[in-house]
Symmetry: C2
Subunit: 214 residues, 2 copies
DNA sequence: CTTTGTGCTAACAACAATGTTAATCAAAAC
DNA sequence: GTTTTGATTAACATTGTTGTTAGCACAAAG
């Protein structure tokens, strides 16, 4: 393998990366059927023949990107289960905030995944087993942490799966429904933009209250 | 206006309605760009020329359907604010359950609206004012009910807007993410299908706990 | 300096999707 | 019964989108 790359190879990596970036953005924004290869090429600043030169077909590139984003599905779900080394309260706070921050950093990801999984549910087949085993172990761990805390302190004996679903639901919704939520709240009082920070704190509070912690 | 319709008029209404139904289904399933007029016509059992005969263009019919579904946006949000004649606890229970049932009866509606509002946020412009005034009055009412209950009983002094967002988030998520949630929960134990009923109860509980009612 | 390989372009080909039109058929109006 | 009206069809026209190909430019290798 070459230590120095030729200029041609540099150029290749550049335009290939440019197309990939443009495609990712376009696909995440508009989904498979809404995205156009010509638009992607245009956004990348190359002729649309380059698209096919590097990635053969629209499907091939799309499936590559779907696979990539599907890999983030785990993170989109299980990052909400905090670090098991922390005491339960800190674990919950960290879990909710970490999860919220992940979604905030990938605000288009949820809608994209929901849409493309709805379009072809069999996309899940490949990661199903991985998902299940990961969910099982993480949830088992969280559940016993909750149960232990429930015995020692006054914490509620909650179902860890439900808590996880609560966190994911609460955190993802404002991003999936952003324009609508903005209309709803921005105009009632003038808190434009601060909604997300507000919501992040609120969700932490909601989950803590649900578990009756503190 | 005729009391009896001619057979031609009957036929017209039939195929027009058939196309409309097929289009609604197709659009809700696949969105604007994913839906094909030929597929709609085929599903309605007519030639695709009929599509244009009755509805001129794909856009026109789509906008009609979007407007219709956007009309349901209010219900999708504010049905969660229960009847103000009831005591707070019953009001919350009724609100959450009524809202959940509405989403369950229109499971494709949220994704459709989120997508098409994201594609063209200006779609909201038309109903913005209506939304705001309705939100204001309904939320004001709910807020004072909460505040009153907080003074009399031990109920928490919660922000009605946040409570509304919580309910919508929790109730809508399982439908928007259905295949994923099913994988996550179905395989952990064998509760296939019962997830939604489970979730409905859980959401009621969560909101009641949040308000510290009962 | 020639040859080879490769990124790149422009033009074209193929197909799918939207939209149109002229002609047909049957029921309703007269 | 003739005419008219409107639903319906098949065929066509158009455009947008995807994918291909022949050739050019230019750096690297010999």
């Amino acid at each position: 393998m070459p230590v120095y790359m030729t200029e041609q190879q540099n150029a290749q990596r550049d335009t290939e990366a440019l197309i990939l970036q443009a495609a990712e953005k376009e696909f995440l924004e508009k989904g498979y059927s809404g995205a156009k290869t010509t638009t992607i090429a245009e956004a990348a600043g190359v002729t649309h023949a380059m698209f096919h030169y590097y990635f053969r077909t629209k499907d091939k590139l799309f499936e590559k990107i779907v696979a990539d984003k599907l890999g983030k599905l785990m993170e989109m779900m299980f990052s909400a289960i905090g670090n098991s080394d922390l005491p339960l309260k800190e674990r919950i706070v960290q879990g909710v905030e970490r999860h919220f921050d992940f979604v905030a950093a990938n605000p288009l990801l949820p809608r994209f995944i929901f849409n493309e999984v709805h379009n072809r549910p069999e996309r899940l087949d490949g990661i199903k087993n991985n998902m299940i085993s990961m969910a099982t172990s993480l949830l088992d761990n969280l559940q016993s942490a909750i149960d232990k805390d429930a015995s020692i302190n006054k914490c509620r004996h909650a179902d860890a799966r439900m808590v996880l679903l609560d966190i994911i639901s609460l955190n993802i919704f404002p991003f999936v429904a952003q324009p609508i939520v903005n209309v709803l709240l921005d105009s009632i009082d003038g808190n434009s933009g601060s909604l997300l920070e507000m919501r992040k704190k609120e969700n932490v509070k909601t989950i803590l209250e649900k578990l009756n912690i503190e």
